[in-house]
Amino acid sequence: MINIDDDALLRQIIVKHFTKPLYKPLKNNPNSIIMEAKSNTCADELVVEILLKNQSIKQVSFDGTACAVATASADIFLNLILNKTLKEVNAIIEEYQLFLNTGDCNSIDLIGDLIVFKNIHNQKNRIICAELAIKVIKNLQ
């Protein structure tokens, strides 16, 4: 479990997922669903690729250019939902969006490393970044 008071560690996690994302570039699997995540308010532009099998996430990847918050949140989120069912993904998204908007979290286990965005609720303009990729995945529900 991450110590959520260790800001230096939380920053390191963001930097790691921003500079060396686990799930870049796209896998280009012909059976995947491709979704575009383009911000209406800034130049952030991501493409997310999801392979679904029996309502379960079997492969994830993404590509594009975006800020540290949008890139790291996409990478952490994809890592979190791999091998989960759509129902489980939906529960994570609901919890994460509540967390982004209020700073409150009912289950830290559910959102995992996304806890690094604990202060985003204080910066309303960055919530858009922190949920850029997540919002398009929500469309899978």
């Binding site: 920053r11 800034c42 130049a43 540290a68 918050v69 890139t71 202060n119 985003i120 910066q123 970044c129």
Partner: protein, 408 residues
């Protein structure tokens, strides 16, 4: 001088800790502008198209008076050549739509990749509807228009050249008078439009000296309100434009067969009720510029840029920051901190240093073709900025590796 200048802008009274470095997007508003608008709205508020009573006529007189002030400001031949619009975007759309019936298949419109979307989208739309073509103007090494190459790009199909006076990203200033001379010597019939949105508050603009056919600008870039702009054109050319907005105030009559007769310039290109309170406000902005004098504004802004460049060299910020336009005197700085997205830097500047700056494409979508990056951070100066504020920026950029400290 600048402390007194700051006192003229209520923003600083309400936000004494803020450093406003985004005047290229919108300048801050003068208290006299705000007072004039408030005064009109509280003591008058009548429609300038209604002259049955004194208050409406008073508004109409103000509208025409401010029109004459704009004429003087840009040294136009006639007051009727000044068309009020909602801003630069509507000005250029008025021109592009108004000229459409004179554009044929294979005609060519020349512009640069540094144009703002407002000087690109209307022309893209025009060529889609007419079968004409857009051609890119070649830029020189300093990102200004390469006049020698422009000569070679002009041919019998060239109909319009539409370019920025000063570009909104790199701040490059084009030598409009020289360009006009070259172009008109080859073919005097080529229409030259200049987007003055970025230059109106920072350069002396004399349309007769420049020799251009049309210019456009917005008042929110010049210490005034949103929702007001100007399209200026040479009378004979302006008079040929087909109106873009049809409605009240621009027609003389509609007969029983629904044929209409238009008013003369400027009314026929000003369909609908104008933004009259912004016109009251703009009078005050023009008075301010006339009092302080543009040459003094230019001198101050140029000094800020030079001071910034000096500090960048002293601190060796070039090692970790890519600067794209330190070589020109424009009050704009465009840069990227290596390996960091511009939005992360603008958040850092805002949250940690109270610096308001713009990041992203800056509405210039084709800049990648010029400097090889699509997005960047933009700092822009205006008359109210100070050397102390530049010092804060330098300190912030020196500590840019801490950019995530504002996220966590």
């Amino acid at each position: 001088m600048n402390k007194n200048i700051k006192n003229l802008f209520p923003f600083f009274k309400n936000n004494p800790e803020k450093v406003y470095f985004d005047s290229a997007a919108s300048s801050l508003k003068l208290s006299k502008v705000i007072e004039a608008e408030r005064n009109f709205l509280t003591t008058n508020g009548a429609n300038p198209h209604v002259t049955d009573y004194e208050k409406g006529f008073e508004a109409l007189e103000k509208l025409n008076y401010v029109r004459s002030l704009v004429r003087n400001m840009i040294n136009a031949c006639k007051t009727e050549e000044v068309i009020f619009t909602s801003g630069t975007t509507q000005s250029i759309n008025t021109l592009a739509n108004g000229i459409a019936e004179f554009i044929k298949k294979d005609d060519e419109i020349l512009l640069t990749e540094l144009e703002h979307s407002s000087n690109m989208m209307p022309w893209i739309n025009l060529v889609k509807n007419t079968g004409a073509k857009i051609k890119k103007i070649t830029l020189a090494d300093d990102f200004t228009i390469d006049i020698n190459d422009l000569k070679n790009q002009i041919n019998k199909n060239t109909k319009i050249i539409t370019i920025s006076h000063v570009t909104n990203t790199l701040g490059t200033k084009n030598d409009i008078a020289a360009i006009v001379k070259v172009v008109k010597n080859i073919n005097s019939g080529i229409i030259i439009h200049v987007d003055c949105a970025q230059s109106i508050a920072h350069e002396v603009i004399d349309v007769q000296n420049l020799g251009v056919d049309f210019i456009s600008f917005s008042t929110h870039k010049i210490y005034s309100s949103f929702g007001l702009g100007v399209l200026w054109g040479k009378y004979d050319l302006l008079d040929k434009l087909k109106p873009f907005l049809f409605g009240g105030g621009m027609n003389l009559k509609i007969d029983s067969d629904f044929n209409y007769k238009l008013k003369s310039l400027p009314d026929k290109l000003e369909g609908g009720t104008p933004n009259i309170q912004a016109i009251y406000g703009f009078e005050q902005a023009i008075n301010f510029i006339n009092k302080i004098k543009l040459k003094n504004i230019i001198s101050h802004e140029t000094s800020l840029k030079k001071y910034f460049v000096q500090k960048v060299n002293e601190k060796k910020l070039n090692c970790k920051i890519d600067f794209y336009n330190l070589n020109n005197n424009s009050p704009i700085i465009l840069f990227n901190v290596k390996g960091v997205n511009p939005q992360d830097i603008t958040t850092f500047l805002d949250k940690k240093y109270n610096i308001l700056a713009r990041g992203g494409a800056n509405c210039a979508r084709r800049i990648n073709g010029v400097i090889g990056v699509e997005i960047a951070v933009r700092i822009s100066f205006a008359i109210y900025n100070t050397f102390e504020e530049v010092d804060i920026l330098i300190e912030a950029l020196s500590n840019s590796e801490d950019f995530l400290s504002t996220i966590i």
